[in-house]
Symmetry: C2
Subunit: 313 residues, 2 copies
């Protein structure tokens, strides 16, 4: 029953996005469709939808636009990230940057972001305030990451700040908007937002672990790229002092073959420590759900924690 | 009297922007301040402010936020344009791209755009609808321009579409938002929006002419760059059939020194034809003002047409 509702909702979200990125300018439409329809995990829109349902929402249609908007703002940042990271593949397909070139990739990201703004406008507040703050944090997180990678100054605190800004903020905003649409009960809204923030942290730590130990074929993208660019190094920071906070990680990656660095990381216990931290964040997410009334949607949110922790792609 | 009000308003707009681009991430703050405070003409915020006053608005403070937002969205696109155009100077200073590198320039543009969204959120509608539509058009215009330059297929219709989307739309949105804040009289709002749209077209045609005949020192940027990239070629299209709509312009620019192409354009009469078209758009802007009640602000808007037509920078 709940699975059926979720599937219906996810289908409606995809259709909504497909419709909304239509443009009089062909390349914007083509490139947007290419990236949006390349099989993302749709975690953020699912978060918006489940938070809406868990907060007592009954008209699934009402949350579709918001859910589509959070997926689209996420996708816009992916397109720009891939330019900055020189990534050629994403989700097993060519990146927009690889296929259409840098200029059109930059404009496609801008277009998607402008479209998000346009989609969100009718919702009024607090939705636009929540979404715009999340967008600002997202960019701040990406920038902090680029700055830390450049200076080699990626300590544990910076890493936490980065993943909070670049990933957890949008998870939080998704749940907060979805829940707010369904209820005036601020305790429930905050609990779902808190859940989503911690699930976002969990997700990002696991993502960074997969960059070190994942299978490129299953992931649909190369591994070791974050590491090579001085990012995603919570594991590094915590597990092996010789790599910590002074640019050594970047320097090592430049001197040694990446492969040997990845092997050393796997063997140092750093990955296991990061995994424990992911589990801790997952437990925090679960604890937050205790303030949400029981429902099939809440059970789904609970199950999602394990899915995020156990994922291999 | 009106000059004093305008000066006060422009100062308040600058202060507002300076405050709003503050970020916990230093480079975003520094790069934003660098470009925003590098002495732009501030035509769009002036448009918002004068439209507000001409439509009967009396609380200048009310329009400052909107006016700051339109300047900031414009500045965001400049930062991204400079990446795509490989421009090293703008307004006589280093571009963000030249000074901070491509990654941070891309993120700075994204940041400014997210900040615009955040600044606009409290205004509700129709303001967010107007601004978001203008943002979408802006990106569409830039993309159409890049696509036309790439294919060499820049005919007169495409040029008109491009300058409407990339320049006139934001002028129009500025005036529409400003006027709407002051009055419910839709005739006045539409007249001011119509004025601004045509002033935007005038401005862009003059800008493209200056790219051909302007003085680089006065302009604070190199000339001929639009031409070299297959853009801003209304003059080309209208004045000289041998350059028209089949990529010849780009081909010539690649083969001949840019200088000789510019000389040929100056001598072909193309610039004079473009100038007449700018004057025609200016006349349309002036005609639109007839539907606005007389006031010192309306006189300023009228004067602005001549300033835009006669500018040399």
């Amino acid at each position: 029953m709940i699975e059926e509702i979720i599937n219906q909702g996810m289908l409606a979200i995809d259709q909504y996005i497909e419709k909304v990125v239509g443009s009089q300018v062909d390349v914007l439409h083509d490139a947007s469709i290419h990236i949006v329809m390349s099989g993302g995990k749709r975690l953020r829109p699912k978060m918006a939808m489940l938070a809406y349902l868990a907060a007592g929402g009954e008209e699934l249609q009402d949350v579709i636009g918001l859910a589509a908007a959070v997926e689209l703002v996420h996708t816009a940042t992916l397109v720009h990230d891939d330019i900055n990271d020189h990534s050629l593949t994403r989700r097993g397909k060519a990146t927009v940057h690889a296929r259409w070139g840098r200029t059109f990739a930059l404009l496609t990201g801008d277009y998607m972001f402008a479209k998000v703004y346009e989609m969100m406008a009718p919702f009024g507040n607090p939705y636009n305030e929540i979404m715009s703050q999340a967008a600002v944090r997202l960019v701040e997180g990406e920038t902090l990451q680029a700055a830390a990678a450049k200076s080699g100054n990626m300590d544990r605190e910076t890493y936490k700040q980065i993943i909070g800004l670049k990933t957890a903020s949008l998870f939080e905003a998704s749940a907060r908007m979805g829940a707010n649409l369904a209820t005036d009960d601020q305790v429930v809204v905050d609990a779902l937002a808190n859940y989503a923030y911690n699930l976002g942290l969990t997700f990002q730590i696991v993502d960074d672990i997969l960059d070190i130990i994942g299978d490129p074929e299953t992931l649909g993208k190369p591994v070791g790229t974050d590491l090579a660019q001085g990012r995603g190094v919570m594991a590094v920071q915590n597990g092996d002092a010789s790599f910590s906070g002074d640019g050594t990680a970047t320097a090592v990656a430049e001197k040694d073959p990446l492969q040997s660095m990845m092997t050393r990381l796997r063997e140092s216990g750093a990955v296991e420590i990061a995994r424990l931290q992911a589990k801790e964040m997952g437990a925090r997410a679960r604890a937050a759900l205790a303030h949400v009334p029981p429902s099939p949607a809440r059970d789904e949110l609970d199950d999602l924690i394990d899915l995020v922790l156990d994922r291999d792609r």
